[in-house]
């Protein structure tokens, strides 16, 4: 049975112009963040130890551990809050529809009995506080007229709630049952985040007007500001107190994070400015932060998580990254089977090493979006939505210069002849284009709607699949294709075709959930009835010793068949990736790497039966 060996997690999904809220477990070094419909629990000490909760029906926005560390409350864009167990199977305790629009922030009361949620509620309910197990309301929250971006619960008695929002106001409520007490209009722009210090004596509000204001925790009087010498030069998106309550970490759109010392009288003095190394572009804007015990975690717009050490601010941070969007292709480098390259449609290529995790991003000179990508020994070939094919040479982790060629119409599929990688076959809507290095040697209009193609490792043969389910086998003669046979067995558009590593067989998958293994020489069906998926097959991979075929589908399952055994004796991995599996590769006889819509890469170990 296949077992999950490693997960390379995705990074928090970010949006330009808004901060994101990440939170942590009060007891251990785990941080919580969301990406798409999943909530990810990441262990800071061991980034490979990741747990994913995928039960939300809508994109999740924020998640928080309860004060006793047992439960997690997570919220999504539909206004629903789900409370589930933090360990093991993440059993759902309760689900409430709290607001009528997206929820932007969520906080537990310190005794874990009440939860306050705030967000966008179409004018009426912008903030609601309720009992965690029954959902009954514990207060009336009026006073805001626009989206409420953040809320905070005073961690000590007497309980107070502070909310802040796009109407530039910071509102203060007393209770329970909570009632409006005071409002402050000290900020000149959106107030992005409001946070209480752990001892409840002060709270800080930070805003897009680059200021941070400190208020008294009980009376909500303004007591001080973050000092204006060397302030942030851009909107401040988030703030987080240190566990002792004497320091605050703020992150800003000016690509720096600052640590401030907060004195007893409430004024803040800059202690240190932390910068992360990066390419210097928009992706380095910092949008989220969290002070977790000894770790200072900051998240950038590009999804890079930097972990600084609080006790040693001079040390350079540990940087983790990953994909934020759907990973569409995977490639395993032959020269180093432990290394996996994954690319997502937004143009990001990340290198992962088994056992270590994130190993680096491949910086390309041109950051265009990628539709398909293939890797050979020393170079990678990518095709994008802009009709261009790029060949980029690969030296270790760096990308050398690339050459591009415009092929005239949008490429649908790309295949490299592995033994002679200058030959690449690209399929477009109505035909194929053959490339040698970066020259288009021929553009052949095939007359039928083409959906998938593959070229043999030695460049002698190519198979093209069409919308009607027929497989056309061509012999490559010089620079042109000669049709040799047409194979009809599939009942849906062909989605993927792959040759086996020893070139004796090939396998094809279609949109009608069926996969077939054929013998290459005789073109006879070798293994059929591989119909166990319930949705279209997206990807297919052969094991290095030609004995197994793995198929991944939109139905989130990966099924591994053995070519010598009947299709019914198969191994299924259910729920491999929320949203569908889009790419598969074998790294060795017993490991399969898969990636999908949830932007995670997972490695599965197959134990032989």
């Amino acid at each position: 049975m296949p077992e999950l060996a490693e997960t390379y997690a995705c990074v928090p999904s970010t949006e330009r112009g808004r901060g994101i809220l990440i939170s942590g477990d009060p007891k251990s070094n785990k941080v919580l963040y969301t990406n798409g419909r999943s909530v990810i629990i990441l262990d800071l000490n061991n980034p490979l130890n990741v747990s994913v909760y995928g039960e939300h029906a809508y994109p999740a926005t924020v998640a928080r551990f309860s004060p006793n560390g047992e439960w997690v409350a997570s919220a999504d864009v539909s206004g629903t809050v789900r409370i589930w167990g933090a360990y093991n199977d993440h059993v759902l305790k309760k689900e409430f529809k709290v607001l009528s629009g997206r929820i932007d922030d969520l906080q537990w009361s310190p005794d874990g009995m009440r939860i306050v949620a705030c967000g966008d509620g179409k004018g009426k309910s912008l903030v609601r506080a309720f009992m965690w197990d029954s959902g009954t309301n514990v207060g009336e929250f009026d006073g805001h007229s626009r989206r409420v971006l953040s809320c905070a619960f005073k961690p000590t008695r007497p309980f107070r709630i502070v909310t802040c929002g796009e109407d530039f106001l910071v509102n203060f409520y007393e209770g329970p049952p909570f009632k409006f007490k005071q409002s402050h209009r000290d900020h000149a722009n959106f107030v992005n985040c409001v946070r209480y210090s752990p001892d409840g004596s002060k709270f800080i509000s930070v805003s897009s007007d680059k200021k941070g204001i400190i208020f008294d925790g009980k009376t909500a009087e303004k007591i001080g500001e973050l000092s204006s010498e060397d302030p942030h030069k851009g909107s401040i998106y988030a703030a987080s107190w240190s566990p002792e309550g004497k320091q605050v970490l703020t992150v800003s759109a000016d690509k720096t994070a600052k640590v401030w010392d907060i004195s007893e009288d409430g004024s803040g003095k800059l202690k240190k400015t932390l910068t992360c190394s990066g390419s210097g572009g928009v992706d380095d804007m910092l949008v989220g932060c969290r002070w977790q015990n000894d770790h200072l975690v900051t998240v950038s717009l590009g999804g890079t998580i930097s972990i600084f050490s609080a006790s040693n601010l001079e040390k350079s941070p540990l940087q983790l990254s990953g994909h934020m969007k759907n990973i569409t292709s995977l490639a395993v480098l032959k020269s180093d089977p432990k290394c996996v390259l994954s690319s997502s449609y937004d143009g990001l290529i990340v290198k992962w090493v088994q056992g270590l995790g994130y190993s680096g991003k491949l910086q390309r000179k041109e950051n265009s979006q990628i539709k398909c990508f293939a890797a050979a020994e020393e170079e990678i070939v990518t095709s994008g939505f802009d009709n261009k094919i790029w060949r980029i040479s690969l030296h270790g982790d760096q990308c050398g210069d690339g050459d591009s060629v415009d092929i005239g119409s949008q490429p649908k599929d790309l295949s490299l002849a592995l033994l002679s990688p200058e030959l690449a076959l690209v399929t477009t809507d109505s035909g194929v284009v053959m490339l040698r290095c970066t020259k288009v040697v021929s553009t052949i209009n095939l007359g039928f709607a083409v959906t998938a193609s593959v070229v043999a490792p030695d460049g002698s043969e190519a198979i093209v699949g069409g919308q009607d389910g027929k497989l056309h086998v061509f012999c490559i003669v010089g620079d042109s294709l000669k049709e040799e046979a047409v194979l009809e067995k599939h009942r849906g558009a062909i989605t993927v075709i792959r040759y086996s590593p020893d070139f004796s067989m090939f396998a094809s998958g279609d949109a009608n959930r069926e996969a077939i293994v054929w013998d290459r020489v005789s073109r006879e069906v070798k293994l059929k009835n591989m119909l166990y998926h319930t949705a279209r097959i997206n990807c297919l991979a052969w094991s290095p010793n030609n004995s197994m075929v793995a198929t991944g589908s939109l139905d989130t399952c990966v099924i591994i068949y053995e070519v010598d055994k009947p299709a019914s004796s198969r191994m299924t991995i259910k729920g491999a990736h929320l949203g569908g599996v889009y790419a598969l590769a074998f790294t060795d006889e017993h490991s399969v790497v898969s990636s999908g819509e949830d932007a995670c890469v997972r490695v599965w170990k197959l134990t032989p039966q």
């Binding site: 009942r491 009835n529 119909l531 166990y532 299709a567 019914s568």
Partner: protein
């Protein structure tokens, strides 16, 4: 008497062979076919008790509809030997539409003739009547 809407006539042999399977356990499976010319359901194949589930799946054509009855033996969680009689309406996606329609409309009448069916199953491709599906339906 028999037409496509109200169901084909059932040959007496079908009922006799089914009762033999049920009472005396002389067959592992029976495959029935609708003969359009005679407008009735007749017995096409009989399986020996020694034959297995794989022999049964092999005896069903891949692109034509059939009805089948299979006597499935299994051991329950409490270690009891039990058996269930399955009625399988084999209607593969690759068969002709006319064939599927005739078999679908005659199925109810045919089932009424066979008294003692415990589980009914419709399979449109081999994966839907795999051994794991049968096992899960048996409980």
């Amino acid at each position: 008497m028999a037409n496509a809407a109200s169901g084909m006539a059932v040959h007496d042999d079908c009922k006799l062979k089914f009762l033999e399977l049920k009472a005396k356990r002389t067959y592992r499976f029976i495959v029935f076919k609708i003969e359009e010319k005679q407008k009735q359901v007749v017995v096409e194949k009989l399986g020996e008790p020694s034959q297995s589930y794989d022999d049964f799946t092999a005896s069903l054509p891949a692109d034509e509809c059939r009805y089948a009855v299979y006597d499935f033996d299994f051991v329950t969680a409490e270690n009891c030997q039990k058996s269930r009689i399955f009625f399988i309406a084999w209607s593969p996606d690759t068969s002709r539409v006319r064939s599927k329609m005739i078999y679908a409309s005659s199925k109810d009448r045919f089932k009424r003739e066979l008294d003692g069916i415990q589980v009914e199953l419709q399979a449109t491709d081999p994966t839907e009547m795999g051994l794991d599906v049968i096992r899960s339906r048996a409980n």
